[in-house]
Amino acid sequence: MSKNLNVWFFLSLIISLFVLIPIITVFSSFFDDTSNYYVILKETFLIEYIINSSILLFFVLLLTFLLGTGTAYLVSFYNFPLSNFFKWALILSFAVPPYIYAYSLTAFFENYGTAYTILKSLFGDNNYNQNIPKFDGMFGAILSITFSLYAYVYILARASFLYQSQNLIELGKNLGFSKFKSFYKIILPAARPAIVAGLSLVAMETLAEFGAVDFFSINTLTTGIYNSWIAFDDLAFANRISFFLLIFIFALFIIENFSRKNAKYHFNNRGGFKQKEKFKLSGSNSFFAFIFCFFVFFMSFLFPLSQMLYWTIKFPENFFDLQIFDLLMNTLYLVVLSSFILIIFSLVSNYGNRVSNNKILNIFSTLSISGYAIPGVILAIAFISFIAWFDESIVKSLGLYSIKKIFIGSILGLVMVYFIRFYSLAFNGIKSGYEKINISVDESSYLLGYSKRKTFMNIHVPFLRNSLLFIAILISLEIIRELPITLILRPFNFETFATTAYISASEDLLEAAAVPSLFLILIAASFIIITSKYILRDNDK
């Protein structure tokens, strides 16, 4: 009976439609003409792109599963030296994007690199280069992405382990299972939805990864899209590869959503949760647990951080050459502007969905949150395609001035695409905050004489305040690390820490990439530390 087509409904609909622009563009461009590049590429590289993407995906999933689940299991169920420290330290890897990890890996193991310097200072001059392993190419890309992304699996698996009922663990003991048998017969299957959800996120990020694979010159579908645009100026073909990649990603997206729905099952069962007592490890078990967690923490965070710190100190001239203050201001400018806009619009959209309770709007909202699954490269190129089409077909036919410059290579365009990319993060974050407010709370508010606007301002916004702050920091973290969108759409002479690091690295000036990389890691790490409690969901207790 309630068909509330009010102003909130239309605002929400417009926001959802805007976010859907790139997807519509990619799908509609499937029928466009492409250049000869398509024929050449189809016969030569397309198979290579698909094979490389698949190999990368397989090994990253395997390794992130082992690292993420292994560390989560240890810190959730056992007490060993520094286990409480590792609990949150293991998520610091989020501060190191795969491309910066790739720079560190190369800088350390390359000929006459850091490893060589260490060996030389310890054992004197010798030709160590032939004995130092080289982590480049596909292997380097797999390692870089794994150590940067395993925390997705770690966080979700840990949350699931943490909320597993004590009864379940006791049941295993009762049945006489060993620790190992309890793990793979009871604990792991119960956490499966959460782990699958974590792996799906890793899969989407891996397929979308641009910086690291580009640095190691691995041709994947994502770099293929970028190259077909930058080298061959063929937007239609770029969109066509995007189409194939999107089909792949949507399958993952559906799996992730499906798993997440089940994963919810583990959380917030009021009264059903009983804090597990951790088992204290001793002797060799304690030592191996510590070593494993320390290895993962060291490799994922300390190693890239110290490599970048080392180079910054070793080549101080790079520090003074860079306009650090300008880079900081540019980065903060984008972060604050984008977070603010994203939060305001996501709030409006969520509220619109809530008060309208309209099926059509629900469908559009569900589709519009798929933005996070779409690689930044696709979004940026689809956005350019859309603006080009809009300019040609509508603006010019009306005899107006071209609008390309307003949207392409401008802060406005950049923020708009960030909006599309991170809309789901803001929308879902606010949505999960809203899910804690029973709809009868709104109705009580109306019955106490509050209007819809007053209910929104006086009841919802104060309640969501903490969630909003947390979401703003998460968005900031993503934008600081973001590379392809910024690279493609930034205004001329407008650089961030991420783009400066990328440009230096792509010009083979890895030492120069160290300073912006170090700043990026430090800022991101401080954001993670501030929000670690929320990220780890420890507040749900």
Binding site: M1, S2, K436, I437, N438, S440, V441, E443, S444, S445, Y446, L447, L448, G449, Y450, S451, I459, P462, F463
Partner: protein
Amino acid sequence: MTNKNFFEIENVDFYVGGKAKVKDVSFKIENEGDIICLLGPSGIGKTTILRTIAGLEKIDNGSITLNGRIISSNKINIEPEDRNISLAFQDNSLFPHYTVEKNILLGAERNKEKKDKKISLKQIVDLLDIFHILNKYPHQISAGEAQRASLARSLITQPDLLLLDEPLSNVDQSFKEEIQVRLKKILNQLKITTIIVTHDSYEAFYLGTKCGIILDQQLKQFDDPYKVYHFPNSVEVVNFLNRGILIPAKVTGKNTLENWDLGTIEGNFIKEYPTGSNVQLLLQPEDLEHDDTSNLKLEVVDRKFRGTNFIYTLKTPSNTLIPVFVHSHHIHQHEVDEKFGIKRPIHIDHIVCF
């Protein structure tokens, strides 16, 4: 439009998700301060009726009038915030980020403009015994306490019409009767017209000036509690109240019936039936009296101890199971399979037949 009734629902269909839950409902509250209880099984649409009256759902036909003003019809729909109707939800609808005290005070804000404030925060807090939770947040209190806090917030608004959805369903049984007494007292004292939805017939019979029984998508009966209990107007109401059985009988005279197992039954018919007609007689537990000297003896198949009384279930020669009420101080207790005497002649004050 003027209306002599304080509140009136006329021919309204109530919907949930586009589907009619309760159809063609009409009833009125003549006097300000009356308490109406709506009874019915779970999921029948009782809450929908309250939500619609509060303005949270719209209607397509009929009308709802409060204080002479139409508040809902197919053309008019006064927004919930403009109705001065308060609804206390069954589930926890307290604002989660405010303390209980702040929650209640938000209700008092609406009351600010009223010059003749009849009740203070302190009185309400004492009434519902919630002083100890005033500084707590909703997630720190029990479901029963949350329900009382929600009730306090609704009461303090002093609405024109108060709607209570299963207001005491989560309150401990030991405390429930006391709260019922206090609630009735305060509602009468403040003259707040109230509609209460409940599935607890004892609660409805105690609190209600009038009771409505909702069954099979209809308001089956709307009457005084006494009449609803003793003069149910349909077999469905009898079955819902579950306080008696229907047995076959033949009308043998102006004040008599004949049953194959029990013999002659006397009493006053509440509705006339022609002599010789076959009817279904409503037999309630208190209609039969125990008498071991009687020659009418039936077999005991079950005995339920209810504190103040026993309810025996007796089997007749034709295998009909009959409930009989006996005081718990009664010394002649009978075990299962023993014989139980029924006083003859059987006299029933008001005979209800279908």
